[in-house]
Amino acid sequence: MSEQNTFDAIVIGSGITGGWAAKELTEKGLKTLVLEAGRPIVPEQDYVEHVPQWEMKFRGMGDRRQLKENQPIQSTCYACDEWSSKFFVNDKEHPYTTGEGKPFRWIRGRQVGGRSIMWGRQSYRWSDFDFEANLREGIAIDWPIRYADIAPWYDYVEDFVGISGEALGLPQLPDSKFLPPMELNCVEKMVRSEVAKHFGGERVLTIGRAAILTQDHQGRAACHYCGPCERGCITRSYFSSLNATLPVAEKTGRMTLRPFSTVHSVSFDSKTRRATGVRVIDSKTRSAVEFRAKVVFLCASTLESVRILLNSSTTEFPNGLGNSSGELGHNLMDHVSSAGASACIPGFEDHLEVGRRPNGIYMPRFRNVKTKYPDFVRGYGFQGGAHREGWMRGIAQTGFGAEFKKSLSRPGPWRFGFGGFGECLPNHNNFVELNKDQVDAWGAPTLKIHCAYGENERALRKDMAMSAAEMLAAVGGKDIEPFAADDPPGFSIHEMGTARMGRDPKTSVLNSFNQAHDVKNLFITDGSAMVSSSCVNPSLTYMALTARACDYAVRRMKKGEL
């Protein structure tokens, strides 16, 4: 192995967790190779958030034929539009299959920055309601950590990321170290106070906690409220690996970032029982390259990381590297959403919003917090917000002429919407396996995904629609429309759980520091590691776990224990 292909550490993936691993490991002095399957992104050329609709060929309606042909799955995501569809994969190049009667929507981004370019930016701490839930209810296995273990690491990553939001002091949703919150609009303020009044203070409406800067922070500028974050951000006001962590890693001079590098498998030495490096397919030349390192961090995303390990079988691990437990690829979860309600809110017509706030409201979980709710375990939070209707309301109207035109030049009535995100229970029978007879465009075996929601998730959805409608009625909403779609898992893009942590190597893949029980110098710090799913957005927790695992790995390395 040549000197130039040998590193202290290899990080697989450059998204939200890969960026953190790159930053932490290089700052701690490790010569680090970051492998990214996709292309490089140059913000000055590739970010398109300030390109107005009139410069787009289809004026924002998307290139329908291209999307239908090349991105039929990706384009079901709201963020995959005429501007940002280039940040989503071509479905033809990235096939996967699903179990019979179990559709799964897999939304993917392959470029430097990964999905952190188009993520939703909502950032919430988990609590001991989450970390203790499995143990309390006898579901799956217990988390090997508690809030106290991760709290300092939340502090640590939040100092760097910058989370805007409002402190509430709620036990089920610990406060972050906040930058000033974004403002609620008039209708949201009214709903907040009316809901507090009608529901005994149990239901709290607050502004979304978002990885978007409300003041200059760590060399990045405050948000200028142009709106569409998923198209990039030239002022680096929202957090992405491309905007924040990778530039810091680059500055250390110890990072080698290699795009167009599809990881085929992790190599393993059966004598030392250590990972020795990774095998890579160069996405441009299709040639095989091998890299070596003392420690390997898998940060390729929940489903990609597990695909790499399943494709890294050895004589010792015939069912995938690090899979002595048989749990690798199992316990796949995704938040249950697509349920809630919306309504017209009369009045407030002398008020409007100025600027496009890239953030909505949040209502923390209120079921099974103080009292046990009979219909289900765990709970859900609401996202959403209020906006005045725009010119699109004119489509369904019949008016025409000068008066009609004048009416549309003014904002329409206010509408308020609640959309739930509910906890998904871990279930061994929700799993992925390798397809033996189907490969992707780079010759790597594809995944077959078997995942479906169960009774508890369906009960959550039903309650989301009912409780949202009940609140909208209580605050004086009209034309209330509850909804509860039957969307399959994958729609929330919060997939997690396929290489869970645990205390017992017989029932878990990783220990409490994201270290593989079976392969001491292999760490997995993306969503794979999760033991349960909470109901809050998971990325902040992935970031904290990654920084914590890096600290642990480097300390062990220095002691010669890795």
């Binding site: 004026r59 699109m392 019949t398 003014r410």
Partner: protein, 201 residues
């Protein structure tokens, strides 16, 4: 070179700094692009004129530009040619045919030959039909209203007309006061005084 880039160069006068040979090439390219964008590919001359007149009736030129000024018929032609699937395209062209049939049966001439008042009667009737159809088609949740595709020709026509107008530079900036970089967020702003002033005029 992208059309966008060409237009930007033209707008900023940057082209004038280029060498004559290159300037010619840029202008030629711009002409080609603009032509490619405006030459009809799906609509025939009569259909194109019908779309133009109907769209201008919905969004007329007033103290601000109207549907014709922003090239609505060209956008409709582009969408029919490069965006719609066959079914949508057929529905749209059949719908235009129906507009002429209505005009013929009511007034004995095709739509373009009708008086403004007769044309307005036809648009009103199309609107009533659209409402009727929306009652019998499955209910659309409010969160999807306007975004998903309606089977009604007139709803499709209105969607394309309003999209062409309100996403054009003139429509977005003159009518909606759209700013690319607002620079701030205010959740409870009072309407801008300039709007108030124009209303009292």
């Amino acid at each position: 070179m992208q059309r966008r880039e060409v237009l930007r160069l033209l707008a900023t006068g940057t082209v004038l700094q280029l060498a004559p040979a290159k300037l010619f090439a840029v202008l030629q390219e711009a002409r080609n692009l603009v032509q490619a964008h405006t030459s009809r590919q799906t609509l025939n001359a009569q259909q194109y004129e019908t779309v133009k007149v109907m769209a201008e009736m919905i969004i007329p030129s007033t103290d601000t530009p109207g549907a014709t000024d922003v090239g609505t018929a060209d956008f409709v032609d582009l969408v029919l040619t490069e965006w719609c699937d066959e079914l949508d395209c057929k529905r749209f062209l059949d719908g235009l045919g129906d507009v002429d049939s209505r005009a013929q049966s009511l007034f004995g001439k095709d739509f373009l030959g009708c008086s403004a008042a007769q044309q307005a009667d036809i648009l009103t009737a199309l609107g009533e039909k659209m409402l009727e159809e929306s009652k019998t088609s499955p209910a659309q949740p409010a969160r999807l209203r306007g975004y998903s595709y309606s089977p009604s020709f007139y709803a499709m026509f209105r969607r394309l007309t309003l999209t062409a107008y309100y996403t054009s530079e003139a429509g977005a900036t003159n009518e909606l006061h759209f700013e690319i970089v607002p620079g701030e967020y205010q959740g409870c702003a009072e309407p801008a005084p300039v709007e108030e002033a124009s209303e009292h005029q």
